[in-house]
């Protein structure tokens, strides 16, 4: 790359940063304020933790699409690993201490995930964090050589990956006769959100783990 | 059958067979021929009905709104019918001729498909009721004729097709700009007698002159006005029936006819005169007439000579349009028909010479009159008509053009006509002399169809030129009869323009 082009881009980027900074220091008062509205509607949302309320109720539609994005990324990884030269790659032998550690930690991590899922209704936590912990368990097991790589998921695994999104979709349209898309009747909001989160935890855990396991399958 | 549908049916009667023919297998000759001829005859039938109706003052208008302020209009008025009848009749003959000409050749389904589309476009051009509709069919004509020009697939054909497309698409673009500009200025411009632009405020005059230039330049490409004529001689590589159609009815005539419409029914001849647009047009036409004739003199290739002759002859129509007065109008309009009949005869004959004996050049024609007397007779009638020998068709046109020039106060046009007629004689008479009076030089270049009894060549190749040659004679002899091209042109001039001409 030519030096002057590098300099130009660096200059432009610094300029952009400065402009952004200047703009941020000259902001007017907010015209709309949402924290108050979130708090006011928290009771009707079915959960007590504001972030979870936004994530799964007020802006639950974003989350629905986001879960699709996640699944889509995994599909992309599958599509690519399909063309990789070596598919079935046996788990690499790992240190016995690591294996033992993984055997012990993995069930514990599943427990933690369950706790995070449940606590999400009241405090920081929820499906994404829980799913991430599940995925971490998967990565750990893989590193310990206890899980095979999956370039070609079977039907059961595909079902598990899709379950969260399908449950979410079903709950989203189930409310249509009574109201809009993703409308939870206030009485049922809590259990419905828990149902959605449970499905999501499983699928997000599987998907995040899959992002690792599917690509780890074609190391040479 | 309600009146609005008749114009649409005339268009469909060749469009539908054409589309079906595209997808016919190469071997379905009988079905293809049936479709072609049925389409041609049905079209003639519809036109007959409309001819009778228009004679009795009926209107046939089909209108469909494409976008707000943009209508597709097919309007069968007297002027449209003049051109439609010519195309339909000549299409029938050309189809017969093409069936004979292409017997056994490859890709005939494609050929006849585009051939039908080409006639569809011509008929649409004739009946277009406004500039947009005209433009639509004008461009369709370009697209439908391109595959015909390159039909043989040789390098020469492809090159000619290239040039043809470059000229016509560029011309179409100019026409489009002019049309859009005019619509923006004056709203939807339907073709109405006497034009509709004179109502615009006088400040618009400059713009209108510019638009006129764009429109005429766009149309002049197909009408082969010098210096926009370069594609026409090159397009000669097409098969003979295509050249016949291109020169007699379809492409060049579409351009000339468009100029008629623009001058008479968009601007109005009075208004065009007041904008000082007619004199430049007449000068451009005169230059083309002389230039085309001069170039024709020096062509040894028979079809090229005919092509330059077309360049020259089509501008007679433009010249007639530019003459401010009813007699000039009649001369121009009647030449639209007469030139078509004469030129198609000549091209049929040229095709016969090439197809039967392999003759492509004038210098190879010595003594051909004895080998192919009927073809040469037809050729002679066409050529003499072109020169303007009475009582043939060409004489009638030239007579009215001359008288019209005097009426319009442009006597210099007489000189142009005289010079051009002399040049016509100079490039046609030597051919006739060679054909009839020189002895044959032994063997023919490439004799393909042997003489069989009374038939000097395949019957399907012989009948069409004889029929059109007879028409050359008849339209001249019986120019005064009802429904003759001349009396129809008179009807148009009287009914449509005279009311506006002082």
């Amino acid at each position: 790359m030519k030096a002057w082009l590098t300099a130009l881009i660096a200059l432009l980027c610094s300029g952009l940063a400065l402009a952004l900074g200047a703009a941020m220091l000259a902001l007017p008062e907010f015209a709309v304020r949402l924290p108050g509205q979130v708090a006011a509607n928290l009771d009707a949302s079915g959960v007590a933790h504001p972030v979870t309320a936004v994530l799964l109720n007020f802006r639950g539609y974003d989350t629905l699409l986001e879960v699709a994005v996640l699944l889509l990324a995994l599909l992309g990884v599958f599509a690519l690993s399909r063309h990789a030269s070596d598919h079935a790659h046996p788990a690499a032998p790992a240190h016995p201490v690591l294996q033992t550690l993984a055997r012990l930690l993995a069930p514990l991590m599943v427990l933690v995930a369950g706790y995070l899922l449940w606590i999400g209704a009241y405090a920081p936590g929820g499906a994404f964090q829980a799913g991430a912990v599940l995925a971490a368990a998967g990565v750990l097991l893989r590193l310990a050589g206890l899980l095979p790589a999956w370039a070609q998921p079977g039907r059961l695994l595909r079902g598990g990956l899709a379950l969260g999104l399908l449950v979410f979709l079903a709950v989203a349209v189930a409310g249509l006769p009574q109201g809009e898309l993703l409308h939870y009747p206030p009485a049922l909001a809590s259990p419905l959100i828990l149902l959605v989160e449970a499905g999501l935890t499983l699928s997000i855990g599987l998907t995040l783990a899959g992002l690792y396991l599917a690509s780890a399958g074609w190391r040479q | 059958m309600s009146d609005p549908w008749l114009p649409a049916l005339v268009v469909l009667s060749s469009l539908l067979p054409g589309l079906i023919i595209f997808f016919l297998a190469e071997s379905r000759i009988r079905l293809r021929t049936t479709l072609n001829l049925t389409g041609a005859l049905v079209k003639l039938g519809f036109i007959g009905v409309m001819l009778w109706g228009v004679q009795n003052g009926r209107e046939y208008v089909f209108r469909h709104t494409v976008l707000p302020g943009l209508d597709l209009v097919l309007h069968a008025d007297a002027l449209a019918l003049l051109f439609v009848s010519l195309s339909a009749v000549l299409w029938l003959f050309t189809t017969l001729y093409a069936i004979g000409y292409l017997e056994g050749a490859p890709n005939r389904s494609r050929f006849f498909g585009f051939f039908s589309l080409c006639v569809t476009a011509t008929v649409g051009v004739a009946m277009a009721g406004n500039l947009f509709t005209f433009f639509l069919f004008y461009e369709l004509l370009t697209l439908a004729t391109y595959p015909l020009v390159v039909h043989r697939g040789t390098d020469k054909a492809l090159r000619a097709g290239h040039v043809y497309l470059a000229y016509t698409l560029a011309g179409g673009a100019l026409l489009l700009i002019g049309t859009v500009w005019l619509y923006g200025l004056a709203g939807q411009v339907d073709f109405v007698h006497g034009g509709s632009l004179s109502a615009l405020p006088p400040e618009a005059a400059g713009q209108l002159q510019l638009i006129f230039l764009l429109l005429i330049a766009g149309l002049g490409v197909k009408a082969a006005l010098v210096p926009l004529h370069g594609w026409l001689p090159m397009a000669m590589v097409a098969p003979a029936p295509v050249s016949a159609l291109l020169h007699a009815v379809a492409v060049v005539k579409a351009g000339a006819f468009g100029i008629v419409r623009v001058v008479y029914e968009v601007y109005g001849i009075e208004f065009a005169q007041s904008l000082a647009l007619l004199l430049p047009l007449a000068i451009a036409a005169s230059i083309t007439i002389i230039w085309g004739s001069l170039r024709a003199l020096f062509q040894d290739d028979l079809k090229k000579r005919l092509a330059y002759s077309t360049v020259s002859q089509v501008s007679y129509i433009v010249l007639g349009v530019a003459l401010f007065g009813p007699l000039g109008t009649m001369g121009g309009l009647v030449h639209l028909v007469h030139q078509g009949i004469m030129k198609i005869t000549l091209f049929f004959c040229a095709g016969n010479y090439a197809e039967t004996l392999g003759i492509h050049k004038v210098s190879e024609m010595d003594g051909v009159g004895r080998r192919m007397p009927w073809t040469t007779l037809a050729f002679s009638l066409g050529a003499l008509g072109m020169i303007g020998v009475p009582p043939l068709a060409g004489f009638v046109s030239k007579w009215y053009l001359g008288v019209g020039a005097l009426e319009a106060g442009m006597p210099w046009v007489l000189a142009v006509l005289a010079a051009s007629s002399l040049l016509n004689a100079a490039y046609f008479l030597p051919i006739l002399h060679r054909a009839w009076f020189k002895p044959a030089s032994g063997s023919w270049p490439d004799e393909k169809i042997p003489q069989r009894g009374r038939w000097e060549t395949a019957p399907l190749l012989l009948i069409p030129p004889l029929a059109t040659a007879a028409a050359t004679l008849a339209t001249g002899l019986f120019a005064g009869a009802a429904f003759s091209p001349l009396s129809w042109a008179e009807l148009i001039a009287v009914r449509e323009y005279l009311a506006w001409i002082p």
Partner: protein
């Protein structure tokens, strides 16, 4: 100036760093890092500006959670592509040659 605004300003700087890296670094892995840094900068701006008056705002926080998941999705896909490219070309950078000059794969 609130602490939140301070972090937003840091976010602007991170965005610029990430953008420069994305545009200038030829190595794909580093481009992917740069994209993640750029994204983190945007997230900081989103929450930082949203909370510039000192109140905790759960709405941008939820948006950032969504954004983080989207970012890892994109990162995983990008890494898979980069590895595939490594397998196919032996390089972890975008080839400079004109793509249409290559022979078709079919």
């Amino acid at each position: 100036m609130s602490a939140a605004l301070l972090y937003a300003l840091a976010g602007a700087a991170l965005f610029a760093i990430g953008l420069a890296g994305l545009l200038l670094q030829p190595h794909l892995l580093r481009k992917i890092l740069a994209f993640n840094i750029l994204g983190s900068g945007v997230f900081l701006i989103l929450v930082g500006l949203g909370q510039r008056d000192g109140t905790i705002d759960p709405v941008p926080q939820a948006m950032v959670l969504t954004g983080i998941v989207v970012a890892i999705a994109a990162t995983a896909l990008a890494l898979a592509l980069a590895r595939q490219l490594l397998d196919l070309t032996g390089q972890m950078r975008l080839p400079e040659d004109r793509p249409d000059a290559e022979p078709a794969d079919d």
